[in-house]
Symmetry: D2
Subunit: 351 residues, 4 copies
Amino acid sequence: MSAKIKVAILGATGAVGQRFVQLLENHPWFEISALAASERSAGKAYTEAVNWKLDTPLPERVRKLPVLEAKPGFEAAIAFSGLDSKVAGPIEEEFAQAGYAVISNSKNHRMDEDVPLLLPEINADHIGLIEIQKNKRGYKKGFIVTNSNCSAMALCLGLAPIDQAFGIEKVMVTTLQAISGAGYPGVPALDIVGNVIPYIGEEEEKMERETQKILGKFKNGKIENHPMILSATTTRVPVIDGHTESVNVKLQKRVSLDEVKSAFRNYFSVPQKLKLPSAPEHPVVLKEEIDRPQPRLDVNIQKGMATIVGRVRPCPIFDWKFVILGHNTIRGAAGAAILNAELLKSQGFLS
Amino acid sequence: MSAKIKVAILGATGAVGQRFVQLLENHPWFEISALAASERSAGKAYTEAVNWKLDTPLPERVRKLPVLEAKPGFEAAIAFSGLDSKVAGPIEEEFAQAGYAVISNSKNHRMDEDVPLLLPEINADHIGLIEIQKNKRGYKKGFIVTNSNCSAMALCLGLAPIDQAFGIEKVMVTTLQAISGAGYPGVPALDIVGNVIPYIGEEEEKMERETQKILGKFKNGKIENHPMILSATTTRVPVIDGHTESVNVKLQKRVSLDEVKSAFRNYFSVPQKLKLPSAPEHPVVLKEEIDRPQPRLDVNIQKGMATIVGRVRPCPIFDWKFVILGHNTIRGAAGAAILNAELLKSQGFLS
Amino acid sequence: MSAKIKVAILGATGAVGQRFVQLLENHPWFEISALAASERSAGKAYTEAVNWKLDTPLPERVRKLPVLEAKPGFEAAIAFSGLDSKVAGPIEEEFAQAGYAVISNSKNHRMDEDVPLLLPEINADHIGLIEIQKNKRGYKKGFIVTNSNCSAMALCLGLAPIDQAFGIEKVMVTTLQAISGAGYPGVPALDIVGNVIPYIGEEEEKMERETQKILGKFKNGKIENHPMILSATTTRVPVIDGHTESVNVKLQKRVSLDEVKSAFRNYFSVPQKLKLPSAPEHPVVLKEEIDRPQPRLDVNIQKGMATIVGRVRPCPIFDWKFVILGHNTIRGAAGAAILNAELLKSQGFLS
Amino acid sequence: MSAKIKVAILGATGAVGQRFVQLLENHPWFEISALAASERSAGKAYTEAVNWKLDTPLPERVRKLPVLEAKPGFEAAIAFSGLDSKVAGPIEEEFAQAGYAVISNSKNHRMDEDVPLLLPEINADHIGLIEIQKNKRGYKKGFIVTNSNCSAMALCLGLAPIDQAFGIEKVMVTTLQAISGAGYPGVPALDIVGNVIPYIGEEEEKMERETQKILGKFKNGKIENHPMILSATTTRVPVIDGHTESVNVKLQKRVSLDEVKSAFRNYFSVPQKLKLPSAPEHPVVLKEEIDRPQPRLDVNIQKGMATIVGRVRPCPIFDWKFVILGHNTIRGAAGAAILNAELLKSQGFLS
């Protein structure tokens, strides 16, 4: 067995950073070699710097790793970034410049023309942008790849099967998002216990534009956005993990309920074919029970990497309506970045 | 000062029945003279029969009232019904036949052709159906008037201002409904704590069809449904009181954001003109703060009788989107029935 | 009618400050003349500086009041302090020195030997310390009076009736405290939704020592602590308002269950005799229902100024056990300070 | 490999029954051969009869198993009982009479003189009662063994290490119990969302008396109760799984904090020595973080079979106080029964 690829985690003490640490424990291909965070934490052992908030124990291997400043110089090929968007932009560029494959969950570079907003089930071919990016930016070895916002991720995975099969024209979506999506400390308890907050800053715009890019086509060295029109309303509800989305879609053609359900049920794509280690066996799981999916019961299906679809039924205005559920900090954040890294490795981008 | 009108409450120990008792305490026009419930409770004093779940004390006046069986024979002009829909149908007919004004919150007769689905701000003229109903059913003095489902109520009040001003063609709505809407014991805690249930039995159908009737026209002795098309998705969230609704609407004409907001802000209708005791001063309250309305903070505005609208903004697919909040057991149930009774009295139907 | 006494609120934008503003609206004796907060807010209108989190509207009268820096110079006789304890100490002293009656909810001066930890039902005579304080500190007109921590407040009011009647020797208490007790933003939602946090910083020490001072005797110019021994465990639960406390007490003598209940039921003290405007009619309300008190149902009894006691029953180890509930931000904070001000006025300390 | 022992589950569709099904999937020694429930469910396939409420999928193997009536006649050596206590008593006796090893989670026979209230870490020798029971009741091959109430279980495991080391004289405990402890549908959401219910029927009595029996000595063919005195207050909080307990104990001797912590840390007992498949590696896990244990973060430590102890510190009245957390439906119910079965098998009682 050859040695694992060394990876650094930028923003390692934050909510997404903790998920990276959790999900990379015992990863077959990757191994954490460096943890970086803000200056305040730098110098401490990880176990002292982090306020570990996950319900599995802090992995033994990383407890004593020193927390470093987020500056190039680590022995690592990949820099997973869970950095706060206030600082992520230039730091990620610095790491790419220094030769790291920067695989980022932050929003800063998502909409850059030459940066893939990668979602392996849907747009694995967008990695073609990497070469263009390197040329344009003068990166020798490094590059930046991003994954989308958590609510856009679940939406894209719930739309892709029917978009690929029948073509989607319009999407109306209302989300009910988990509090973990806001990071830590994130939402004050006084604001959300027994309550709903019908607004999440910038979230609706992100869902609308990131979805178009993710589902877009890579053509002539550019991403051509998907022409579907989207209208999103995003809300916060007192759920720990799992974004629920109520979706109405208008298709390009008339199809039957069975055809729609089959499209969801049979969805199978690149990461599944490549058997990437973090790929869910079924990227989309269709529930037939009338009151599902539910975050508490379904969010951990396939280790949080599946997207669950339920309540598929005709819409009196558009064509179909259904409910999507996705794990916002696994499939919607750290898990997505790791799957991106696995795709990149399988395609020879990390050698 | 003349004596108050005596009223009976059918289903007095249930969730809606308790709200009737609470809201009728010190009512200027009405006075509870009889409390009726299932055989199991009959014979006990109200304070013993009821499992009082409201956060104001059980009113002194009714503590010792005996709970009676739900059969005509009370000294009362009005029978407010909060009966379970499993039994409400024939009992309400029996009371109407016996001469009572039956003002019901139950679903059984809502869609009867000759029964008004009354919402005084919107369709006060639907009381014209009462005469037709009496003739058709052979009721001498009694009659049945209903109010809508709680989620339809909030939707109608949020739509009416712009429908009346500009005409609505299409409505897409996703609700986030409170647990009190399911009565008591209602939703098991294990199902909803930290969770979302994306399904409420029959709720979507009720919202779609009751809205069309409420906003319909009384013409030639019949209600002509409003021709708008609706598509609803209803979900349950861990909130005690207050249904939140994410709404997208397509209008018949192009108007400006200011015009839409003005329509909401200036909405003023029959109960306000008549100064009915339970009428909110402003039936619709427009919030400008970006993260409102919120159930915990806004549900009790104007004693739970107002409908709160916020986040009014353009919709990329339809014309406008906004968020509605209504108190589901006050404006959406018992308070609505009481307002209906006040309208009926003011129009001479209770003399 | 003579003019009302002008009052300033220090820390007016915080959680306790907002309660001061809410509870002082339409107060018969006091009138807000100045709102002070941190430099960051200073200069703005209150409605812009505050993130209003109460479920009643921001009072019209204060919306446009400018927020000032917390420095003497206001036209006011009283300075209610809801300041953060990080800054409260010296600011409160500065105001006392400048002639204001400082009535503080902050912890900084509570245990000062010459500062009353005032709870009018229990130790109205502790105001005798004020004269001593003024002499000692060289205050001419001003002085500092404090109220206790919210969990100590409920405990003291639940203990006082039986302590006064029978004498208490030992108290074991475990609390289940509301999130509003931590202020705003306070507890992160991720930490408490569907969870219990079995620790609140410094809370156990405060409960143990403040209770002894509150129930202590004013003798020879000093407070002699009550000799009871206390042992507290404090926890946080996902409740908005209302601290629940499970209490076991050992008395100095053997009494019957009826005697204990009578002591609670008949408790009536100085604020009730003086008919102070904010005094609850019954400072302690005894519930006989087996599953009460409950925060959601009982916390607002007597406008949040009562302390609710229930489940009084024998303890196999000590003598009695029972459950106490108190509204932590009304009776346990701003309401307590206002009641203290009312006592001071009625005793001539504010003229 | 020899065949697995066949087991039946009585009450298989209930909350505890579902846990049995979940925990027995892939058990190395046992294999479900029969599922029994009430007449209403009998005849259906398990997947249709059950309203599966766990967050792992319904195991493939049992989906199609027919649900049978709870009457002897199954091909099974063990009958795990999660029956409702309204019916459990005589059914369990019938099964024991018919030759089954009845391993019950129901309360009915727990306090029977000749029935072990078995907790393998603490009283493995209580299985000596089985022979006495068989003789007394005339059971040929079958017998009844019970496990305790969920809150007593966590308490006993939290007390045993220091009781065995130093002797406990008195225990004061206040619990904060999860809603799953009430079964399904169990607690209505309206009663517990944002609330605390300071009462659980019969729970305090169960905790007090079951603890004495569990920690008691098997001597001369009888259980001699432990002489410690207990005083319990039990409350319900909005937590899904995990009972938290605030405990104060008085010991027979003075020991140091280090000695107390060592007793917890080094606790190791029969199931650990025997390496029973469901035995947690460490039956008691001591947390040193000041704000732990917390149900959301710690309840699944060692697959829900460990008991977590934290906040160990001196008590001003007794000797020590600390907080215990246990998984109420795993270690506190189905998992406990399975561990009991494993002990019985290892001691030759199932051959």
